[in-house]
Amino acid sequence: MPCPIALGLEDAASAAGSGTMRPDRRHTKAAAATQEDLLAQMSANLKKLRPYDQPAQPQKPLVPDAPDSAAALWLVVAGLWLLVAAGIGTLWVAQLMIPAAKLQMHFPLAFNLNIWVVLDGTRTGPGFLNAVVYGWLTNAAIGAIWFIAPRISGRRLTSNAGANVALGLWNLAVLLGLASIFLGVLPSTGELAEAPLPVDALAVLALLMVNGLYWSTIGPALRRGAYVSLLYFGIALLAFLGLYAAQSVVPLLNLDQTTTVLANDFFVRTLEAYWLLGPAVGILYYVIPRATGNPLYSAPTALLGWVLWLVLALLSGLGKLLDPSVAYAITTAGAVATLLLVLHAFLVVGNLLLTVRGRWSLALVPGTLAFAVVALIFLLTSAIIEGVGALRSVQAGIAGSEWTAGAFVYAALGTYTMAGLALVNFAFPRVLRRAWSVNALATTEFWSVWGGSLIAGAALMLGGLAQASLLSQGTASDQIDATLVWFRLVAFGGMGLVALGALALVIDLFLLYTAGRTVEYQVVIPQTSASTSTAVTES
């Protein structure tokens, strides 16, 4: 049985600063005394002991103790959502191949009431979008924030219980939103966050709680400067709250159809740029220095990238306002901002690849660094894809084709998902204090998710190009469908691989928790000028 080591936050922080570690001797002495007493009793009366006389085994709590219970719960729920989202995504691509394929379930209730759950292409598509963005990526991002923010800021999360309540509220809202899609309660589909107003109110309440907890946790630490990950998380959380609340209010304003559609397009683009991209980059800025043990290559480069992202993410939404009622220059400014997000990606990727220097061998096994490096490659390529798609000459060509869906799958399941998995693989063994090792499940998770997202995204984008080309030639829709079926078949295989990887992740986490060997982790804090390094115990 491992000797438990308990550290107070201030003790640990001072230990980190001084380069020494002082375990709380009271706890270790007490534990050792109890252990010795039990052993003495057992050795004295070993033959007389009956099974129920054995000393009680310590109970393993279902939820890890604070301070990491919120991070653990959000990340577990995120893993489950990835599995659900990948499953819905596979069904969606299957229905793209066979549009007539429709699952319809009828639940007769009392008083002549009936519930019809219809799973057709018009519902599984939005269902997939919502499950990925609000289920998997949002839970993973907030779980990552609860894990990273206390460690960098040196301040405890102000309320784990509050974070867990927010988890319940948020996921209830996501579940109700998905149910409203599949039950056909929504007046229209195909858009993010168009849930019924009470559901949106629930989600906004959860986001308010998350923002409150985050800023109350890191606020005092900001006075002595903040690491770039905290800056990304802070802006992303505020933007998510503001955008979600604004989008929820739009249906109440009785705007005309064009304005409503334009507002939704602006919302979807800025939400992706702020809420999906921001936390992914924040995670990568944390896990790569941690996994390699190297210092970040250049803090000023990271800060420059953050400032660019802060401005360009907002402007990039303007590029989606493609309507004659919007001034041409405004839309062009949005297109330029989307193009310049390639610069942001270039700075992030260059900075972090230089951080890895001397540690490339760690990227050869499917662990945290391998996930992070693949996420960097996806980050740069997806930024280029978005940038090219925003060019005036390309926009008209790919409009109405499956290119947009392919670009989303590539970015969401490639860039953001791989960054999220890098964090999950890094954080979970530390949260649960379990030994992690490369096994068949981790290997399956790594290759299936990145391979599947690459295949599915590329197949849908190439299919979109073929579709746009055929549409411009005036080809009949049945002939277009006959051509696209091959692209969709490949995309189906890709989505299936992602679902397989998600299943491997969930099983791996379960086995890690139930059968993993208990360990304590150490993190090396490299000294930039001195030759010595400091090692402290990390949870």
Binding site: A16, V261, L304, V342
Partner: protein
Amino acid sequence: MTVHTPISSHTNRLPAWAAGVTVFFLLVGGVYFASNLSGTNPALAVPQPSAAASGGVDTGAALALIKKAQCQACHGQNFEGAIGPSLHGLAEGPLVPALKPVAEEHPDDWIHLWIDGTDPAVADIDRKGMPAFGTGTLTADEIDTVVAYLKTLK
């Protein structure tokens, strides 16, 4: 327990490559912006169906009214039927037997009468929870717009 483990930086200067690539991208973006200042945006965000394709029906207005009246909540996202019946093929006549007498008596405007719900011709028919939209939700002209669109659903 949480341990304060800050991440340090290898260098506190902006590397030359980062400054160079930033200037390069900003120049390219500036040139692109300057060369695309004038013009008219295509209507890509809100696809406008051609009059020929929609038979002269104002599809955009009809869909907005359908959204307002929340027809899809009961009749399905594609009007394929859910809690309420399918709305496809209404131009050929009603699918619900209870409406057939009304359709025979008012062949041109039975859909309007049914959606409106205030006319004596449909007063005795069990609406099975369907609201009477003529009581304030939709005007007579708006119901006509919706009916014209519904008749295009094959």
